[in-house]
Symmetry: C2
Subunit: 314 residues, 2 copies
């Protein structure tokens, strides 16, 4: 039940109130793959240049990720430089060098065409669709997008959305895509565009999932030491898809747990620069945080099933 992910692999330079780091391993496919690797087999399709450090490849291989689809080309790797404000919620992009990523045109190897789970990272919606067309129809297709494509390639994006099962975006993108300030109405109208479910990432506030007959909401795991939010959304998507591929079902119950596993992976990811912490987890720690999430979010019948109900005020 392996996952194929198509997206960016980047070298990030990140500044937060906690320090600077240059040439950190980054990109949507990277964060997604590392997060998903704890749950299932992952193959990544992306492009890198001659400047890409060997140690980053070693890390991806150490996580058991299939990097045969990582095309090494003549030129430079995609580079992003950004700075976070003091509360880590606001981010300023200081520099974007698309480099080889500007002409990225994913060609799938035969071995990648039959993956049952596909995640289309945030790339040109025409490329997303070309990847999907190269595959035997996967069991589940999820995708991400961003304000740039919503503004500049809306028609292409709508064609792609008509073919995906699950759209995973943030609240600003949800409102922009639907052209509707009310998030709930926006979500309903996006479900009319094709996706069978919409997962809305709300950063420190948590996540919402809409499907035609169900709404699910969960708060984010409260993290005391947020160091670098880069990649939180992609590690969320990686945990979500990884869990779904692992359990092999896509019903509403599995999707809800998948959203929580996504939140778990994002909560680990933000506690160090780049994907450093995310790469150093054990499945036992992931499971333990999932159980903490259950405690964090439960309120009905709590007194009957846990010590959390114990009196503490009076």
């Amino acid at each position: 039940m392996g996952i194929l992910v198509v997206g960016s692999v980047a070298l990030d330079s990140i500044k937060t109130p906690f320090g600077d780091k240059a040439d950190v391993l980054g990109g949507s496919a990277t964060y997604f793959s590392i997060a998903a690797s704890y749950f299932t087999d992952v193959s990544m399709v992306a492009v890198i240049g001659e400047d890409f450090p060997e140690k980053h490849l070693t890390l991806l291989q150490r996580k058991g990720i299939d990097i045969s689809g990582l095309q090494l080309q003549k030129g430079k790797t995609f580079r992003w430089k950004g700075e976070y404000g003091s509360d880590l919620n606001s981010r300023t992009t200081l520099e974007t060098q698309l480099n080889l990523f500007a002409d990225f045109s994913p060609k799938l190897a035969d071995s990648h065409r039959t993956h049952k789970y596909l995640f289309l990272g945030n790339i040109d919606p025409d490329l997303q669709r070309s990847v999907l067309e190269q595959m035997e129809r996967p069991r589940l297709v999820a995708c991400d997008t961003m304000n740039y494509w919503i503004e500049n390639k809306r028609d292409a994006l709508l064609r792609t959305l008509s073919l995906v099962d699950l759209l995973v975006i943030n609240d600003a993108e949800t409102r922009q895509l639907a052209n509707e300030p009310n998030l709930i109405r926006a979500a309903r109208s996006i479900l009319d565009l094709g996706p069978k479910a919409l997962v809305i990432k709300r950063g420190e506030y948590g996540a919402l999932m809409f499907s035609p007959k169900s709404v699910f909401g969960v708060t984010a795991f409260p993290v005391e030491d947020v160091v670098d939010p880069t990649g939180a959304g992609d590690s969320f998507a990686g945990g979500l898809m990884g869990y779904l591929a692992n359990v092999g079902t896509c019903d509403n119950a599995a999707l809800r747990k998948a959203v929580v596993y996504g939140s778990v992976m994002a909560s680990f990811n933000v506690t160090d620069f780049g994907p450093q912490q995310l790469s150093d987890m054990t499945f036992t720690e992931i499971e333990a945080r999932y159980r903490e999430f259950c405690k964090l979010a439960s309120f009905d019948n709590i007194s009957e099933k846990s010590a959390e109900g114990k009196a503490f005020l009076l």
Copy 2:
């Protein structure tokens, strides 16, 4: 197990993208009392002027609220005029006329000194403390505050906080009070100031509750037709305290449910101007929305207990 609430009663003029309304019944004590009235007996202490319309008194009495502590004085009622932006998240205060509220100095009647539950609405922290000192020690004391008091009467506020059990404020106030941008660290340091639990209201994102040994988080109920967010925080507090007074326990299990009942009341309140919708509920509708909240927030073992688990994607 009645609640005493001290706060403002106001005449609000509200402009939202959905219309204008002048001289709407408002104020923290109003929203709190109406929300709490579905759960328990409520007595309000506040000041009104000669301009206060009889119909507003009639509404409060119709909800069974004890308004014997509503002091009618010579002069004008507190007036607030505000406008909401298109997404209803940003609010601009156009005018504040404190009027009689400027010299409000609550004197409790004997019948109000023995209430077991006390909610100190957002007023001068010295007045909050003077109210508490007039009472026999209640079983549970909760309070609200705002940026103005945090900035300008910090020492008085800290003295008040050392005496309360439950602080109910929003995230900006939490960060400001603790002087700490990380919400979780801010919450922990506020618990050192006296309150045994801190409930953080996050508007459309939900609520978090911190106590020394437990964290609870819940998303807001997704409301499709938000018309006027005025009073959401106070109706949240009213539902929360009303539920606690109703069940007569203050353990962690009760507090978590109370936060959800608070969210239920806030979700009803925002669907019409002023407290109009909030005044027109039935307890059956409140209970039904609480059950919807349980469905909205559940993810563990869901397939075993509800139809929500049914496959819908594949």
